[in-house]
Symmetry: C2
Subunit: 915 residues, 2 copies
């Protein structure tokens, strides 16, 4: 029967494993949609002649129907019985048969693996009669009663919803009364007693007898699996992993094989390659005379799969040859579940093996070298986001789990800047600096940070703040420095005077050691063991494969020579965004920046700027040297001036307090002057106020100083034999006239410096496209620009009308999680570029811009420049480059290559890894 | 010689008046471009056989050349001399001829009239020789020397740039030494002495003799007129009136006629209709035996033109018949300058007469009724903006001038809400209310206003604030109420404790009377006489003409039944924007609004909302009644909640002060709780924060209460026999999913109320399109909307990234005025809709929206809805309606009609009135 791609109510709902592959032969793509990952794997294995215990799969459509109507689809039960009869015939066993009873497992299996989230029932078909038959047939009453005991517990828990604990308690009591420790110490009689006890517990809890009707058992179990699709764990897992709630799960009903049949039986899991390192070696564990759950439960310690070669050489060889066949078939590392019953090997499941980033890289590169897959295949196998963990120091994951168990997780805030850091708690930036200069490692803990704290942030290993979001001062500065940072730990309250912070009634004092994980936002007490990053050879190889197909240039966002060097070592092909305001915030400059802002005459302002010029120049020299021969895009001063001054609220508080205390004198007067200036600069919506080019146009001398510093630096770098390629970027353009005037004035400065020095430097002037108006008037703006760089952070803010700082705490999270079950946004537009809205504006800007200037250079310098889906979109727009933080350069290189490959294959889907 | 439309360097540069009309016959449209308004008028008059003193016009091209090169175009002088010879021949006089000297006037004349801005020289051609000839020929030495004296002064001032004062001083000295008072008391000899004195003054100031060479005089005067195009007065005037700086001026060189020749000579100005009232009557003044400047100088009091019928009946009749001919030719009221020399009438200039709005209306309607122009012509003759003055009480303009002269102008702030108001100064809203209830008229003067002050604003005649811009609380509320308001009077400092405000060392106390002009931003001491608005019959007639062609529906922005009634009386066809937040701000509601915000449980919030429901319901009932049978678009709550609470800064100040004074107790505790909540609600950029639909989605009960109130009100209105047509508008949509969920929830409330009452009401649900993302995803949004209303205020803010409150004070004004002479914006985008940027987004939204839903109703409810150019744009987009404040409804009606007519005639230019 040919299967259509569209689901239809008349579609067959139940497939035998052995028939399923053929049924979907013409439309293999939809097999996983219908049968789930496990069902598709079983079908494929059965079709390939791998020895799989016979079984059938109930398609996902049935679950969808059940989710909607709370009832089994009509005819489903008849179909199940019909197909089951074929299995009974093959095995010469029958469900519920007193002589030769068939036992079944009933397992969930959705399109994407959701390990442990849904329910499984084993040994179904046992009742008082068939249990006795099993005891006789196997001549192993202990095995029979143990299987029945396990079945009752599972069924009672999953179908009848009785707490497991009830049975565990009874088991414990039994062992206690017998004074034994292990389950294996229990005899057949003991287990028989337990079966009776369990049955009476079921009666007690439900008022009904444990069902002896095996068909009722099967119906109940099937429905329970359907129900488990919507249990809270499963819903949570899907939300976390962005899996569609509408997919539904298949149900796999399979004849049982028993690894616990005898000592010639076993059960185990194995990977075709090492999932941790990627080495080509059999990796896994097995247990003789055991059922699958015994391996997981950890009561007995499983043996390494390698020992099996010695213990069961025949079966071992069969296993190796089978799984090698499977790996060759799937062309990827497989994760296999198997059972050996009386010396016969059965495969229960095969799937793409989950793996660490390191293993993923090695497997992909090795498979390519082995000729199993192409370079393109190798490239698209890797989830670029996974690479991040290879590029940062991280905490040992096992240690972290241990710490959590020990209650050492202090709090979880926002993961503002990734990486792991350990140090002593310190509250004061000066103290951070002085301790650090003595070689101490410190973590700076602040309510929030301000430009005055920069030296403390520089000195610290990492930063924790109580307030602020992903774009708060601390977050932005820390990310710029590649320093781990956790912000917005709202429940943490600092008492700086007494030198401690407290949270949930616990207190942590200055000097105490904490560990912070900027990748997860976790803050721990004490030091967790860390692991250093290494750039693996396979990593380099894979990126080189990618570079062969990649079209987008990858630049970096870097504000310091150090960042620039790091990025270059990762393969950055220039700087796409050098933010000059961070240079203003350094401790030695801030006084002059303040003097510039507080200047009451142009002369005073020029004097302060003259002090800043050589400092900025030195920064630029270092950057030009690090980026020798590569373009360096420098954005002129962007933020509003009040960001460099103390906060209005603080000043109001101080002045009010001083006045109420009837203080007077110089200090109050100075505060009042400062307050007046801060008030003067205060804006209702500073994001949309006097900043960017507006500031540069109203106070031209600031940006003119910056341009002089850039060109003096370039001239010096050139004199040292370097080849600087400055690209001056004028921010926040809304009208072509702004760019025209700003460029006119600034290019004049550049020419003046070049003429003074009688030399030439290749340079460009361009603009950020970060306002919707810039997009829709890009034709006019392009006339005055050598390049456009999309500032997608601000563009996203303006397009949505979302202030990121306000939105993330106040409503964006709720939009993403859903309001009364309705997700208003499926992705955070500040993380993944919003193609429908922001993307449409970008498209307009590209079209208009290139219409006027076909060779206009186009790039992205917002945070989206390092995000794979957004990079694919940039490629589809035909941009020239993306720019991202140094540690995301390799990710961007890979993502850009994937974009080309996927566009070529016509697939726009996500990385094709099993989720 | 046929003239091309494009200016070319080979184009003729000098035209005799009598030849010019013919030269441009094939391209009359360009005649004013080339010859200026005055030159074109003289050419036309000459061609029509009107008696004009012969002369020639130097085309604007010459001035443009001069402006660029600072030199006369090659060949120009030869052309002038060549054409001048023809004039000399006709008049049988010759420039500089000792026997029969020709005297000339040299006048500027640009395309658009710039009265008094550029220079004029009369009596050119006089020197020591020709002056004596003139004395002999006229047998009037006094006239000759007086003319020579005037010429020297004018020439010295305009060409040689010697201060007039130098000559006025000499004249004064002379009169003093002779002990006479009037110029006319000076004898020929006295004037001869003065001529000598003047010549020696020229020598003294320039080191050179006064030029006796008449050709040098003419060259100098022509160049001086060219130069005067760029004098500072002229540049300022052009900036003010938005006249292109590149147009250049023509130069009119004309033979002199002398109104001061004898008592059979005269000079005067007259209008063909009354420029103040529009009555069809001769209106003007004349003086016998005088030159034009005497009329202007006001030394002698001119007589009404009507007396001329008695004094000079022959010439009077000739004048009447000539100017009637001219009015018929130009089909508009003419403003004419004439001179009578020895009984012969000469016309020196004709132009469209400037007129008041009242006169403009009457003239247009009368001309139409007289059959001279069509209804369409009548409609486009009126500048819609000019109508504003007819719809508001205003100060008597003469009185205002007098007050200014008397130094009673206290200060000028921003003209936030138009109209005139008089009242006693009061600083406290409660006091304003209590005085007002006793029948006193008061003006509320505040540093800035907040929702707590609303009752004071309601009670006051008008409002003055020290801080805030065009969208500050005071400005928005006052505009909503149609109450005069001046904001941002920064230099005004209030000392409320001592009951006075001071400015520039002057102090004004509580109770003192002031007058405020919300149309100009002026604040005066004492009461200025006001004039009440009247709706003139002509006004009604003209609007009716307009209604015949208009396609756009005109709605109004109204928040109260009173506003709704006013707007309806002006012809509003529904409400396009009813803002519900102003209802929240009323004094009796604010406590409940605060209670709702400060509620810590949902129950408390619901309780507060239950109190608000009947109040909102009552508002809506009144509005539905006033707008019976017309659609009423109600926008659900839009602003962020903190707008209803005290300011963060104030609370910080209070709490800091109380703590520093070591106060404690209930008051402090309450303040601290309030502070905590305000801090909680505080946002970095509230414009882009938790407001609009976001607020409604997170706290659904607020908007649900509003929808219940709307439908209960509609049901009550229906029960009273009215026909309510509510249209619910959900603000600030950025994603279709927001609208989908909000509509789903709110429509359910509506249906619930209707079902409870077992009745039906026709309703619509729609959204504001005010975010760029809404524009570019309008296809998705339209699915859930019955209508789109462009919120062009917010859309302009987001598109430009300009926060209006911040931008207007910080950089927008400078963008409009120009930075180093470069205007970055030519119009304030918050006043005139930005077609290039915001307009492009609107176009996208219209196209996408109608693509999905062809019948989607589209409108504008931003302030642009009442601005003529923006209305024309709305028409070009094919919108269904615009909505504006009640007092702008007539303006919008007219502008919408003009848009159709101009689109039909293919002209997109401005109203064709002489500027």
């Amino acid at each position: 029967m040919p299967v259509k791609t569209e689901l239809s109510p008349t579609l067959k709902q139940v497939y035998l494993f052995q028939d399923a592959f053929k049924a979907f032969e013409e439309d293999q793509a939809s097999m996983r949609d219908h049968l789930g990952g496990k069902g598709a794997g079983l079908a494929q294995m059965s079709a390939s002649g791998v020895n799989v215990p016979p079984g059938l799969t109930v398609a996902t459509t049935a679950c969808k129907h059940y989710s909607k109507t709370n009832a089994m689809p009509e005819g489903l039960w008849d179909e199940i019985i019909f197909e089951l009869a074929k299995i009974e015939q093959v095995l010469n066993k029958k469900l519920g048969d007193a002589k030769n009873p068939l036992l079944l497992s009933v397992r969930s299996g959705a399109k994407f693996s959701m390990p442990g989230m849904m329910d499984t029932i084993l040994n179904l078909g046992l009742n008082d009669t068939t249990c006795q038959s099993l005891a006789q047939i196997t001549n192993n009453p202990r095995f029979a009663y143990d299987s029945y005991r396990r079945f009752i517990q599972m069924y009672a828990n999953v179908v009848l919803q009785i707490d497991k604990e009830v049975f565990e308690h009874a088991l414990g009591q039994k062992k206690k009364s017998l004074q034994v420790k292990l389950d294996t110490d229990l005899t057949a009689d003991n287990l028989k007693d337990l079966v009776d006890k369990y049955k009476s517990l079921v009666k007690e809890k439900t008022g009904l007898e444990f069902p002896q009707d095996v068909h009722a058992q099967l119906k109940g179990a099937t429905e329970a699996v359907f129900r488990s699709w919507n249990n809270s764990r499963a819903v949570y897992y899907r939300n976390l992993n962005k899996i569609d709630h509408d997919l539904g799960t298949a149900v796999n009903i399979q004849s049982m094989v028993f690894g616990n049949y005898d000592n010639n039986s076993a059960t185990g899991v194995c990977f075709t390659r090492n999932p941790s390192t990627g080495e080509k070696e059999l990796y896994g564990e097995y247990l003789i005379n055991a059922q699958g759950e015994d391996v997981v439960a950890g009561i007995r310690t499983p043996k390494s799969i390698k020992e099996m070669e010695r213990e069961m050489p025949g079966v071992f060889n069969e296993l190796v040859s089978t799984i090698t066949k499977l790996e060759n078939h799937y062309k990827d590392m497989q994760d296999i579940e198997f059972t050996i019953e009386q010396g016969k090997l059965y495969l229960l499941q095969t799937r793409q093996g989950k793996r660490t980033a390191r293993s993923a890289l090695k497997v992909a590169v090795d498979l390519c070298k082995e000729g199993l897959i192409s370079k393109e295949d190798a490239i698209v196998r890797i989830d670029p986001n996974q690479l991040n963990q290879l590029l940062l120091p991280s905490f040992n994951p096992k240690e972290k789990v241990k710490f959590k168990k020990e209650g050492k997780l202090i709090t979880t805030g926002l993961n503002a800047s990734p990486g792991a850091a350990i140090g002593k708690i310190v509250f004061d930036p000066d103290e951070a600096e002085s301790l650090s200069s003595k070689g101490e490692k410190v973590i700076l803990v602040r309510i929030e940070t301000c430009p005055d704290d920069i030296h403390g942030i520089v000195a610290a290993q990492g930063v924790v703040t109580c307030r602020g979001g992903m774009t708060s001062h601390a977050a932005v500065v820390a990310r710029g420095m590649g320093k781990p940072c956790v912000v917005g730990c709202e429940s943490l309250s600092i008492n700086q005077d007494e030198g401690h912070f407290s949270i949930n009634d616990k207190t942590y004092s200055k000097g105490q050691i904490i560990s912070i994980d900027g990748s997860t936002g976790e803050v721990f007490a004490d030091a967790i063991e860390t692991e250093d990053p290494v750039i693996l050879e396979d990593f380099t190889t894979l990126l080189e494969y990618g570079d062969e197909v990649r079209k987008l240039t990858i630049r970096t966002n870097a504000d310091t020579p150090l960042d620039a060097s790091v990025a270059r070592s990762f393969g950055a092909q220039g700087i796409g965004l050098c933010r000059t305001e961070h240079m203003f915030m350094a401790q030695d400059r801030l006084p002059w920046v303040k003097a510039m802002i507080l200047a009451t005459t142009k002369e005073q302002r020029l004097e302060a700027l003259a002090k800043l010029l050589p400092m900025q120049q030195a920064d630029f020299e270092g950057i030009f040297e690090a980026m020798n021969n590569l373009p360096v895009t420098i954005r002129l001063l962007d933020p509003p001036l009040h960001e460099f001054l103390p906060k209005l609220e603080t000043l109001i508080f101080d002045v009010a307090s001083m006045k109420a205390r009837k203080e007077s004198g110089k200090e109050l007067r100075e505060k009042e002057i400062l307050l007046a200036r801060v008030r003067d600069l205060h804006e209702s919506n500073p994001m949309m106020g006097l900043r960017g080019c507006r500031l540069g146009l109203i106070y031209p001398e600031i940006m003119e100083m910056q341009v002089r510093a850039i060109f003096k630096a370039a001239i010096n770098a050139k004199a040292k034999g370097h080849s600087p390629l400055p690209e001056i970027m004028i921010p926040l353009i809304s009208c072509a006239s702004e760019l025209e005037l700003a460029r006119h004035r600034l290019e004049a400065c550049a020419k003046e410096v070049l003429e003074e020095n009688k030399t030439q430097i290749n340079y460009k002037f361009g603009t950020m496209i970060e306002l919707p108006r810039a997009c829709v008037t890009a034709d006019e703006i392009a006339v005055h620009a050598d390049f456009f760089s999309f500032g997608t952070n601000d563009l996203t803010q303006m397009t949505f009308g979302f202030s990121r700082d306000d939105a993330e705490g106040k409503f964006l999270q709720q939009y993403l999680e859903g309001l009364s079950g309705n997700k208003l946004l499926h992705q955070n537009p500040f993380e993944v570029l919003d193609e429908k809205g922001v993307g449409r504006l970008m498209k307009i800007a590209c079209d208009y811009g290139r219409q006027v200037k076909p060779g206009l250079k186009l790039g992205i310098c917002g945070e989206h420049g390092g995000e794979p889906a957004s990079i694919a979109f940039a490629q589809s727009l035909g941009l020239d480059y993306v720019s991202c933080s140094p540690y995301r350069v390799p990710i961007a290189r890979l993502a850009a290559a994937q974009a080309i490959i996927k566009a070529g294959s016509g697939s726009s889907s996500k990385v094709a890894l099993d989720k």
